[in-house]
Symmetry: C2
Subunit: 462 residues, 2 copies
Amino acid sequence: MAKKPSIPKGTRDFSPAEVSKRNYIIQAIKKHFETYGFQPIETPSFENSETLMGKYGDEGDRLIFKILNSGDFISKVDDVTYSSKNSASLTPKISEKALRYDLTVPFARYVVMHQNEIDFPFKRYQIQPVWRADRPQKGRFREFYQCDADVVGANSLLQEVEFVQLYDAVFTDLGLKGATIKINNRKILSGIAEVIGAKQLLVDFTVALDKLDKIGEEKVKAEMMEKGISEAAIAKAQPLFDMKGTASEQLEKLKTILADSEVGMLGVSELEEIISTVDMVGLQSASLQLDVTLARGLNYYTGAIFEVAAPEGVKMGSIGGGGRYDDLTGIFGLKDVSGVGISFGLDRIYLVLEELDLFPDSLDISLDVLCLNFGKKEGMAALKLVSGLRKQGLRADLYPTDTKVQKQFKYADKRGVPYVILLGDQELTNGKFVVKNMKTGDQNDYALDSLEEFVEKVKSDF
Amino acid sequence: MAKKPSIPKGTRDFSPAEVSKRNYIIQAIKKHFETYGFQPIETPSFENSETLMGKYGDEGDRLIFKILNSGDFISKVDDVTYSSKNSASLTPKISEKALRYDLTVPFARYVVMHQNEIDFPFKRYQIQPVWRADRPQKGRFREFYQCDADVVGANSLLQEVEFVQLYDAVFTDLGLKGATIKINNRKILSGIAEVIGAKQLLVDFTVALDKLDKIGEEKVKAEMMEKGISEAAIAKAQPLFDMKGTASEQLEKLKTILADSEVGMLGVSELEEIISTVDMVGLQSASLQLDVTLARGLNYYTGAIFEVAAPEGVKMGSIGGGGRYDDLTGIFGLKDVSGVGISFGLDRIYLVLEELDLFPDSLDISLDVLCLNFGKKEGMAALKLVSGLRKQGLRADLYPTDTKVQKQFKYADKRGVPYVILLGDQELTNGKFVVKNMKTGDQNDYALDSLEEFVEKVKSDF
């Protein structure tokens, strides 16, 4: 007997209902990416290993899925390496390709490879799956989509303003009111590390700070101390933890704290410009909030950083994030190209929309009309009718066999079809077809030789 | 210095222009899949190796990309296996997952796993990439998309009729007139193998016959002989090679040849029904052609088989294919579920549309409006204007810096933007903005406080 089939842990099958909800979110994101002038690119699912390795830290490297070389791969391993029986030294000998871990590094690789075809500033978006050999848990998968938009080759802070508007536009469109777009600036964090005398420990400082939401103030401070940041320095950073009030009040306080740090003051002035410009153009349903404890894990950020929180009351990690990085393409040999980008967390947005019941009911309908099958002769007429409806854009189907009417109605019911067509011998003779509204139970006649009336009726339901 | 980056052979980066053309084809296919009542599903990019291995023959197994286990994978290999240093025996010990090779086997796995949630007949479509470690060559890639639609749980020949109509609908929509949908039936091939006394060599017979287009009659016969089919049997099969005339003429001839074969006569009557029903409903731009030499390589087909040829004059292999298989899910333990499906060859359709210049010009436009940047004050007003245009659905952008006007125009030109907006100090004072039509050079004024007029103008261009 065949073994019961399964799928690898951390991966998912998506049913029609799930695909339709996911596409609803993706379409909204895509639409706004495009109205904001972003252009789509796609990159291969796997890259040469050297493109990916060493870009995400040791932990990241471990989570990259490697692809085994084809053919008699083992014969190409020298005996010395083989006899060591060591996974780390064997891997590069038997695997040259790896599944992409995110869309950012492949994008940087793309920009460098295609720099002569690209007109800068280049605004690109990319919506594709990525893979991580992470321990699967609720809301964390080994295969998931990233939805990224980035601009490279534009230093203007207008880009940051646009990204705040873009978040607002997408969430407003999805009916997700009350999202909070948190903003900070890495230069402010650098400035603080500088004035508290922990400049060379900036990375440890931000990595620890990044966990504030999750582990709380005390544990963050403990981690900082563990990393060698002095108690005195941490005490000096206390204003960070206590920062309250409006954005402009916070910025005023920061100006006092950071007065002696050039980079810190630059961060403050960048934020001032971004926040005031956003104020000027206005947001539709989201709000922009300065959060000086926001750090973001990835070390390539150098300017503004973003993170989006779901509306209050919904327990969920960030549903989006991003920031500015001054030298992303440098790793592939193209220097001095500034970039800034954001990402939408598809899976989490899905869960939030589900929790708040924000998916439109129309997504549940995958078929507008089912025509029942009453046998050979009637079936032929029905096929013509269904073909006509399809040509006018309706999603229509003819039940494949002339089985019991009850069974056909049951199928219509299960698939949630709003209209069922009955075209029997009697109707054929009269040149008509009967339409049953499955919700109300009403039945109406329409002429077989003019389908427009019925098509209009169905389309007006949406 | 950083090494010049590259991508693995057989893979591709898609530029914005290419993505937009590919999406144009995919959208047309999707639209018709949906009007024909198919529902989308998605399956993981990688499956457990045991799901895929052994389903595509030895050659297929070799072309499956295997994923290396994570962590210290080598420590889990026993010493006996390790000391053999043999790729074939080592592979299953260090790799448990593999990238999908097609969408059909994952779909069969999906149906079996989700059989209790599915309402049969189940019409599903799936448009996702697949991977094959094939030798890359012109038009053959290691990563490529498949666009499949299948019905499972419906024995009615109406399904075959619908698939012919579906091909016709998609190709008509894409402007690709004159495609030929070739049809045959595996039962006819079985019948012929039977009457010529080569029943047990049916697979060799069809595999050889399948190459007729590529290698010609003589070489096909030579291959058949090599496989042990007698010269006398091949001579009996000669009517196959000489079959001419209309579908009904050919079917009449087949009835004579196959009179003694039950399965063969069943194949003839199935084809008769499909062809006459298609005749009755009619096709828009494609034609249906009986081709008794059509065999299709995959052995799971048991009934009708399809293959689509590009319009005459375009040199290109088949741009689509499919057929009926009586027992696909049997490999995963679910017996007696009949299926029938077709596939669209995205990459080849792309090349055909390119060759015949059938992509709409509008696909080249990725931005409707570029607003020039004249400095701080004007820039703020421009940002508001651009935000307003985006809210109305236009793809609009503000040049990020107030660099030389010439440079900004050059960028507009390179991106192929049809309209450029000028909003300088003078215009601001007058409450107007100037729009330059980049094609004609005409300039027009519009009022800043009513954008609708301009938005209508741009939308009417499409």
